[in-house]
Amino acid sequence: MARRLRTATAMFPGVYHWGTLVLPRGGISLGRPATLGMPALAPDDRVGGGQAKGLRILMVEDDIALANMYALRLRRDGHDVTTVHDGESGLEHAIYGDYDLVFLDINLPRLDGISLLQQMRATEKGSDRPVVILSNYSEPPLLIRGEELGVRRYLVKSEVTPAQIAASVHDWSAS
């Protein structure tokens, strides 16, 4: 059953607009209701680090400076963040490591994010690991592919702030 949906990027009004997209099933709002970018739901910075337990987070991102930036922010909230910078080691970590949440870039050296995800889903441990795509690319075919591979959320790097990401990691990692 086809459902008319707005793509993830259109959730940030005025920033980027791809129009509506017809997806075969489900939607791009994955797993949980959208909380990102809505001021009322974005918790105060200090709350996250307080009571909630720290998560083990894997960040697969080839831009080292960017990876460091996200890691810096997430570590402030008490999360344990591992950064890797290419697809192959990303896959290794995603399959064999013990992570509550994986942030995945698409354009990666050696193995691209979609292929990584595909191979990871084929393994037992990686089959239902929560994944959030964090990429510069947001073409509709990629969104659909990500959705098919069961990602929790598809984000465009330049449209989310580290604080917004930090505010939602618990939602995304919850099964």
Binding site: D45, D63, L66, L72, R73, P109, N136, T161, A163
Partner: protein
């Protein structure tokens, strides 16, 4: 009345005789299987007609009558052979035809033929009827087939096949009169009517297998308007080359009534073939393009039973070739002239599609580039925006801010550089790029660039400068020259992911100032060298996917060098690094 009947009978005999002679001459001039069948069918009819006149004059010995019957049946067999060459006759068809034709003749010879004036016995009459029936049966089938097969053919072929069908069916009608009671057919009126009717058969058959030029022109007139329409469409409509060639070839065949045709592209590729297998076309193409091709003059024209016209396309000399089939007319100068005009239109439209294809390809490249560039810009934007938001919400300490500031600045510089490259490229295309030449020392410019890039290179990629002791004066736009050198050193840094020293050598050679930048990075594969300097021609591989860049740098650098009477060249070995050399003329 009798005299008139005689005149008519002789006229028709002469007409058939002429037909037979012409078909044989045609066969001798252009020997082919199908022409042999036509000559057999028509020649035998002529023979029958001639023997009929001879027996009327001198009486008929039995052997002559027998020979006459055999010739008559052979004419039908000739038509069947011709039909078989177009549409295969099944084996039982052959058996029936041979049994009917041969059996009836054999029976007729057995029972013996009556001398002309005598009344035949019932048995003899039956034998003659059997001969005529067999002939009719064997002839009607191909005639109807030809009439049916003519539909959908170009007008000239269509009319020819129709004329042939008409001629034979008319002959059948005349022969059917033998089945009528004698007292009806023996009246002079019926005989004259029959003879008059028989007289039109020969011209119809003649028009069928060898139509004169004026007749072909008359036939073609009905297609003139659709033809003009087609040429107009050909000139306006932007099909791809192969589709265009196919459609135009179809009309070329109609235009001259040819059987087989092909269009050969300027690069020797077969664009379209009609009326023959690809193998036949390939063989023709081979002969046309082959070494000792002396049979086609520079302007082309008639070559045997074909018309070959060169197409002066912008990718080389192509050919339009149409060939007469055994059943299509031999071409004359009129056909050559018509086809020549058509070939000119075809050349123009083929060239136009090439331009259109190029524009489309460039559009695709541009939109791919736009996508790439916008994604490239999203990276640094995310970083700057991210850190800024952290400063604003207070989650970044001032020490941390101090630490990341240089990197944010570097990213902003990177974005500025990309944007400038894009702007300069756009200016270059509009010829709005203004150069401000000044005299400067190349050593100073290169030193300044190397100093500025040192932080980016880091300790793993030391940039070693090697400068001559004396001045290296050039007159050029210093800012643009620095852009080029920046690009070269920046590339050397970017494409040396595992580190390695970078050599930058300035020297003077043969009145030129040279700046050679050598790295020991990933190098460039041989097959990628061709796209290296093209606009948007960024070489992307697994190893380079995370290296930022728009792909404009080298294109822009080389254009900038060439605008200033210099050049930029590359030498590389995959896996072992690359050397890029900027060359600019020394100032006097």
């Amino acid at each position: 009345m009798d005299a008139l009947l005689h005149v008519l009978q002789y006229a028709s005999a002469i007409a058939f005789g002429f037909l037979g002679v012409v078909s044989v001459i045609d066969l001798v001039r252009q020997p082919s299987r199908r022409r042999a069948y036509v000559a057999m069918a028509l020649g035998m009819l002529a023979l029958v007609s001639a023997i009929g006149r001879v027996t009327a004059l001198v009486g008929s010995p039995a052997w002559l009558t027998d020979a006459n019957l055999a010739a008559f049946q052979l004419s039908a067999f000739g038509l069947l052979l011709l039909r078989n060459s177009f549409i295969k006759v099944p084996i039982w068809g052959w058996l029936v035809a041979i049994a009917a034709l041969g059996g009836s003749v054999g029976a007729s010879i057995l029972v013996g033929n009556p001398p002309a004036p005598a009344t035949p016995t019932p048995l003899q009459a039956t034998a003659v009827l059997a001969v005529v029936s067999a002939w009719i049966v064997v002839v009607v089938e191909p005639s109807v087939r030809f009439a049916l097969a003519s539909r959908g053919l170009p007008v000239v072929q269509r009319r020819r096949m129709q004329a042939l069908s008409f001629g034979y069916l008319a002959l059948v009608l005349v022969l059917l009169t033998v089945f009528l009671p004698r007292r009806t057919t023996n009246t002079p009126t019926v005989q004259i009517a029959t003879s008059l009717f028989a007289l039109v058969i020969a011209p119809a058959l003649y028009a069928g297998f060898s139509p004169p030029r004026w007749l072909r022109r008359v036939w073609r007139e009905s297609e003139e308007e659709p033809y003009r329409e087609a040429v107009r469409e050909l000139l306006l409509y932007s099909a791809d080359r192969a589709a265009l060639a196919h459609r135009s070839l179809d009309w070329a065949l109609r235009l001259v009534g040819a059987d087989f045709g092909m269009v050969l592209d300027g690069d020797g590729v077969l664009l379209a073939v009609t009326g023959a297998s690809a193998d036949v076309a390939a063989e023709r193409a081979h002969r046309l393009l082959g070494e000792g091709n002396s049979f086609v003059g520079p302007d082309g024209g008639l070559v045997g039973s074909a018309i070959v016209l060169p197409l002066p396309l912008d990718n080389g000399k192509g050919y339009l070739m149409v060939e007469a089939g055994p059943f299509t007319p031999l071409f004359g100068q009129e056909e050559v002239l018509r086809l020549r005009q058509y070939a000119a239109a075809l050349t123009a439209s083929l060239d136009r599609t090439r331009v259109a294809e190029r524009v489309i390809a460039l559009e695709e490249v541009k939109s791919r580039f736009l996508k790439l560039a916008s994604h490239e810009l999203r990276g640094p934007l995310a970083l700057v925006k991210g850190y800024l938001s952290m400063v604003v919400d207070g989650s970044l300490s001032s020490e941390e801010l101090q630490r990341v500031m240089p990197m944010i600045q570097a990213r902003l510089e990177q974005m500025t550089g990309m944007l400038n490259e894009m702007l300069d490229t756009a200016r270059l295309e509009d010829d709005r790029l203004e150069l401000k030449p000044e005299r400067f020392d190349m050593r100073h410019a290169v030193t300044a660039v190397a100093e500025a890039l040192k932080p980016l290179a880091g300790p793993q990629r030391p940039v070693t400068l090697s400068l001559p002791e004396h001045e290296v004066p050039v007159v050029a736009d210093r800012a643009r020259v620095e852009t080029i050198v920046t690009n070269l050193i920046d590339n050397a840094i970017k494409y040396s992911p595992r580190g390695g020293h970078i050599d930058c050598i300035v020297e003077v050679r043969d009145g030129d100032a040279l700046v050679a930048v050598t790295d020991h990075g990933i190098g460039i594969a041989r097959e990628d060298m061709t796209t290296l300097f093209t606009r948007f021609g960024r070489v992307t591989s697994d190893a380079t996917v995370s290296i930022p860049g728009t792909g404009l740098g080298l294109y822009l650098s080389r254009e900038l060098a060439r605008l200033q009477q210099g050049d930029l060249t590359a030498h590389s070995e995959a896996g072992h690094g690359s050397t890029f050399t900027l060359q600019l003329p020394l100032a006097a």
